[in-house]
């Protein structure tokens, strides 16, 4: 497969995955707003989310102080900065367009339709339509994944698509956890508040039912974090993502990729053989920060090994 084709597939799936996870993060805020929280807590929650997404500086430059409405619009609709949901959908479509000969026409038409429909959404839409927008994003992502798994040949094209999806998802899941840990409101005074706020995260990630099945116990920050990091059977879980990442990387291995595979394996081993309590001994957010840095390193290595080979070798 052409390196450039692999690159487009990888970014196509990364952007799509990012779009849906951004929708989930905003969705969590929409749900939190329904809880009895002080206005300050709501703003602190948004502030924490912007920091976790690395968007706080860009936001401040544009809008100054944080308001719930503006933060929503910024993350969802802003067409000027590349990190918004709409821009991610556009980028996914542009990457798909560049490889429309490699993906199936069903995949292309779905991504293209998603983009065309996205043009009708924007900051001017009424409050009542916003929840629908987030649902629409999730639905379009589910649809695209289904069509991909239902029509794309099980070859390199699928492997690179998967590498993009799971690298992005591992990153995004940790960012969602991080946002919750950084949110002072997330550590409520009373246990019941804390439980309901972390349950909101689970619902936004479509993982609430799975939590109940796995734990049969009350929702606590530690349990939610452990589940989202350590379970290898939970599709949103970091451990699961690393399983997939490792397998797909192994399937496309070339003569340059040995070290990348080793690092992916090393990272995976932490989750496969490590203990949750040990990983987070220095604090959960410290661990999440370090993990994200190692994912970035992996992404860089994947690009060098497969996607943009330099020279004429």
């Amino acid at each position: 497969m052409l390196s450039r084709t692999a690159d487009h597939l990888y970014w196509m799936s990364r952007y799509l995955e990012r779009a849906v996870n951004l929708a989930r993060m905003i969705d969590a805020h929409q749900r939190l707003a329904l809880l009895p929280r002080s206005p300050d807590a709501v703003l602190q929650g948004w502030q924490a989310t912007l920091v976790s997404l690395g968007l706080d500086d860009a936001y401040r430059e544009r809008h100054g102080s944080v308001t719930a409405r503006r933060a929503f619009d910024f993350v969802a609709f802003d067409r000027e900065h590349p990190g918004s949901i709409l821009q991610c959908l556009r980028a996914a479509r542009e990457n798909a367009r560049a490889v429309r000969g490699t993906i199936t026409s069903d995949m292309w038409e779905t991504l293209n339709t998603t983009y065309l429909e996205s043009l009708s959404f924007g900051a001017s839409m009424p409050e009542s339509g916003r929840g629908e927008f987030l649902e629409w994003v999730k639905y379009r992502a589910h649809l695209t994944r289904g069509i991909t798994s239902g029509t794309l040949l099980r070859d390199e094209a699928l492997h690179f698509t998967n590498i993009g999806t799971f690298l992005e998802r591992a990153d995004n899941t940790t960012r969602m956890l991080e946002a919750r840990w950084r949110d002072p409101g997330g550590r409520g005074e009373r246990l019941v508040e804390e439980a309901s706020e972390w349950a909101v995260l689970l619902r936004a990630m479509s993982a609430f039912e799975m939590f109940r099945r796995l734990y049969r116990d009350s929702v606590t920050p530690q349990r939610v974090t452990e589940m989202l990091l350590m379970r290898d059977d939970l599709p949103q879980g970091v451990h699961r993502c690393l399983d997939e990442l490792q397998a797909n990387l192994a399937a496309v291995a070339n003569q340059h990729s040995r070290e990348t595979l080793r690092r992916a394996g090393e990272l995976h081993a932490q989750f496969h053989f490590g203990r949750f309590a040990d990983l987070c001994a220095e604090g959960v957010t410290t661990f999440l920060d370090r993990f994200q840095a190692r994912l970035r390193d992996l992404g860089q290595r994947i690009a060098n090994d497969f996607l943009v080979p330099s020279g004429t070798g």
């Binding site: 450039r4 084709t5 293209n112 496309v252 070339n254 070798g313």
Partner: protein, 482 residues
């Protein structure tokens, strides 16, 4: 814009009755309620958008994508007429290929005095790099788009040969798919020749011209990239043929061999179907600032390690200043009389022609020799006094840059416009493929000038497209029998 004479209509007799081969379709069409047709047209637009059959518009905001308007009324050709046209097209393309091969070898036609040598050798489209190079099969123009129009009497004649990177074939294929989706009942009834095997024939031809000794050639399609106006077509053809769609940055040359960069390392490339002009192919040999091409490609090509389709230097045969000599090429190389006539053409570098043209400017169409896409053109009957004077001055300054032709009526075809069905002018671009044999897929791209009275069919100037039906030789099944 006035149509100077009553144009030949493709579907209707001057009396208003349908021509025999169109009767079945026309009767059906007249039974369709206007809302039904309008709905079908809206459906077509929505489908084209979803499939992304759009083209980028230069000079507009980045990311602007437009549809080429599609008309749901087909242009229909009877079998006998197509058979004649097909023969004429094959003959013409054989002669053109023979001409290019001759020019880059012995130049017999120049020595025989049939064409003034300076016309060819001083032409910027003449590529001295190609001199003496032998190509597999001796083929230069593997893909040719020959633009034909009807004269007032209804006879086909050739308006232009496109031998460099002719485009539009994806519209021929997608328009057909669209028509079959919108009106399956018509295809069940009329025997309409299929066109969808075009990519297979093209792929087979491209494989057949691989360098000697390559048994299982790797063919790629070289595109300028996703922002090129014809990108959809490039991606579409690559997908249909199952070959890689590459950009210049995906390719490199080492030791005069062409490779593409893959996730598993370099992979050798044997045939390049390029959709990039000569000028951009190799910055080491042509335009140094081009980032679209591949440094060293010409070296690999000249070493015989890679085939390029169309060959470098085919522009020498499709230049408007060379066009008047094509009938002569048919006689010279094939010893046959041309089956397809040229449109009468005045070459303004000739004093007699120039005098006539300047005296009749308001009746004629003047074209720039190197112009394309309907730009740099004067349509006398529609031009203002100022425009006429401007061209008069331009011709006086550089007569060699212009040719002139009579204002053709162009045939018309009923077309669905805001007010209902109305005649609009059309042309036809059939695609001629040259490999082990010369093939014309029965059909082509019919372009239609959507503005009333307009004779300009280019998509950049408000043109649209239609599906082109060639009826099967078997008589269509009568309605009652279905």
């Amino acid at each position: 814009m006035p149509s100077p004479r009553l144009a030949y209509d493709e579907m209707l007799e001057p009396s208003g009755a349908p021509r025999a081969h169109c009767r079945q379709y026309y009767d059906w069409l007249r039974e369709q309620p206007a809302e039904h047709l309008a709905r079908k047209r809206a459906e077509a637009d929505a489908l084209f958008h979803r499939v992304g059959i759009t083209f980028a518009v230069y000079g507009e905001t980045a990311g602007t994508e437009r549809l080429i308007p599609f008309d749901i009324v087909p242009r229909i050709l009877p079998a006998e007429e197509w058979a004649l046209l097909e023969q004429g097209l094959k003959q013409r393309v054989r002669a053109l290929n023979a001409f290019i091969a001759d020019i880059y070898h012995e130049q017999r036609i120049l020595r025989a005095g049939r064409i003034p040598p300076e016309q060819i050798l001083c032409n910027p489209q003449y590529r001295p790099e190609m001199q003496g190079l032998d190509l597999p099969g001796g083929i230069y123009a593997h893909i040719s788009g020959i633009d034909v129009v009807r004269d007032d009497a209804g006879r086909f004649c050739v308006l232009e040969d496109n031998l460099r990177v002719p485009s539009g074939v994806s519209y021929m294929l997608e328009n057909r798919k669209m028509m079959m989706r919108l009106f399956p009942e018509l295809f069940a009834r009329d025997a309409i020749e299929p066109v969808e095997h075009y990519p297979d024939v093209l792929h087979e031809n491209l494989r057949s011209v691989a360098p000697d000794g390559v048994t299982d050639p790797t063919v790629v399609l070289l595109t300028p990239g996703a922002y090129n106006s014809a990108y959809f077509e490039h991606a579409f053809l690559a997908q249909q043929m199952g070959i890689e769609l590459v950009e210049g940055q995906d390719l490199f040359v080492r030791d005069a061999v062409l490779y593409m960069r893959t996730t598993q390392g370099p992979e050798r490339v044997d045939v390049v179907y390029r959709r990039l002009d000569d000028d951009f192919l190799d910055p080491l040999s042509f335009r140094p600032e081009s980032t679209l091409g591949v440094p060293g490609l010409l070296t690999a090509y000249r070493a015989g390690h890679v085939s390029i389709a169309n060959a470098i230097g085919t522009g020498v045969a499709d230049d408007k200043s060379v066009y008047p000599y094509v009938p002569e090429m048919v006689r010279f190389y094939l010893g046959e009389e041309p089956l397809l006539a040229n449109v009468p053409t005045w070459v303004l570098r000739r004093a007699d022609d120039r005098a006539y043209v300047l005296a009749h400017l308001e009746e004629l169409v003047v074209k720039e020799v190197h112009g394309a896409g309907g730009y740099g053109m004067l349509i006398g009957p529609a031009a203002s006094r100022a425009q006429l004077e401007e061209f008069r001055a331009r011709i006086a300054a550089h007569p060699e840059r212009y040719i002139a032709q009579p204002t053709l009526a162009l045939s018309t075809s009923p077309t669905l416009v805001a007010a209902g069905l109305a005649p609009r002018h059309i042309d036809l671009r059939p695609f001629v493929l040259s490999g082990r044999e010369v093939t014309v897929v029965p059909g082509g791209l019919t372009r239609v000038a959507l503005r009333e009275g307009s004779l300009v069919v280019n998509s950049s100037q408000g043109g649209g497209t239609k599906d082109t039906w060639v009826l099967g030789a078997a008589p269509p099944v009568a309605l009652a029998a279905v």
